[in-house]
Symmetry: C2
Subunit: 229 residues, 2 copies
DNA sequence: GTATGTTTCAAACAACCGTTTGACTGAATC
DNA sequence: GATTCAGTCAAACGGTTGTTTGAAACATAC
């Protein structure tokens, strides 16, 4: 491809991105040092600052590399559904499948992150790092907005506030499931579930969140009791 | 109480625990340094190593201080329900309320952690630190086991594997909601929901997870398609 | 008052952090 | 062939990390 013949070792910048991505997923941002990254990537220590400028900028690059394809895929997946529906509301099931299929597509494509991508994705909203706090909303704004309004249209009888809560719960379950943060694995010593097979997760995950989202609205009278005690 | 009259400042060890707890919730384990802790606790730097031995041991102490009361409360809350039911299966709604009430009790008692407790609780399964990986399962084993079998008894028609998945999703949503990790706040700039009022969260959270847990079982035929692609 | 054991304190420890420097390499440009 | 410039490299930068030290300060017991 580059006329140099044979595989020729990968670009230094992407080798750094790959190493940083894997280490960040495994250890988190703060616990991952420059020396760990450069050692794994088999590049010189100074290479990170040369190619990316700083550690913060590197991690911003790690995220945007994976997130951009996801948001594009997920949005265009919803586009297809909505044009086919010709203005009619979609089913919540179809909406959730649209998002899940986009994530699964990338999860099964090693060139776009593969299995490690979904775990990185889940890190994005768990990590509290300021670098992500300002750059991520811009990335997710369109994605979340589109899916939120599609869900609102599918569930017109649900109060908007309650729906926003439910979407929050749903995405929490989704991202945590994909993160491999198998909570049961943390609690019990030998769980039967294996959180590493994305498509297996989705099989059980979609019905769960769909049921949660489409549950009957809570009685309006229960709201005030929030302030008791 | 100690004959010295008046309030008399709090014990050094607990002042350290309080400071470490707050900082750990806010910044995470790795990003919280000894000097941040001792400065906030207004104690000498060496006091942490003197009273706890190491930073790792300190954080283990931070968690066990809060987790032990929760598991006790949650288990005995389930005990009361089960003895009242005289062997009959409980409703999933009652089970989830039992757990949530235990968490809310502690969340509203400043002496047992208050609002910060629930966020600490959620940190326990997000943080990947090895110290927690080995100590937490022992703490949670009874709690999860009891609630899992109670749920299994309430939903005998659900396959055990699928039920374990659903419990995983449910607890993910619960802990993330309490963590204040409002995923929508990260994605959209101005969400209407406020994730800091535990009882308000519970009002919306319980119906969501109950609906997810009690959803119809997935068709047995859909299982094999997991291996496609 | 002296002795004993516990707690606090300022100071220093080696190790690691992210970043910068300046010399060196190799290929492209004139 | 000299020049240019993106890229790599070993070495060092100042600063922070968790931890240790040995001397003070303290309360309690004899």
């Amino acid at each position: 491809m580059n006329g140099m013949g044979e595989v020729r070792q990968i670009d230094t910048a992407t080798r750094i991105l790959d190493a940083a991505e894997a280490l960040f997923v495994e250890h988190g941002f703060e616990a991952t040092s420059m020396r760990m990254i450069t050692q794994r990537a088999e590049v010189n220590l100074a290479a990170v600052n040369y190619h990316f400028g700083s550690k913060d900028a590197l991690f911003q690059g790690v995220f945007t590399r994976r997130l951009t394809p996801l948001t594009q895929l997920a949005v265009q997946s919803l586009d297809k559904l909505e044009t086919a529906a010709k203005g009619e509301p979609l089913s919540v099931d179809a909406i959730m499948h649209a998002f899940m299929d986009a994530a699964l597509d990338i999860a099964h494509d090693p060139k776009r992150g593969g299995v490690i991508f979904v775990r990185l994705l889940s890190r994005t909203f768990i990590e509290a790092h300021p670098v992500l706090r300002e750059s991520l909303p811009r990335h997710y704004e369109e994605l979340v907005g589109r899916y939120a309004s599609a869900t609102a249209k599918a569930l017109p009888h649900i109060d908007p506030v309650e729906l926003q809560w439910r979407l929050n719960f749903a995405f929490s379950a989704i991202f945590n499931a994909f993160a491999g943060n198998n909570i049961l694995r943390l609690f019990v010593s030998d769980p039967v579930v294996n959180a590493r097979a994305p498509r297996l997760i989705a099989t059980y995950l979609v019905p769960f969140v769909v049921a949660g989202l489409t549950a009957p609205a809570i009685a309006a009278g229960t709201s005030p009791d929030v302030n008791r005690a």
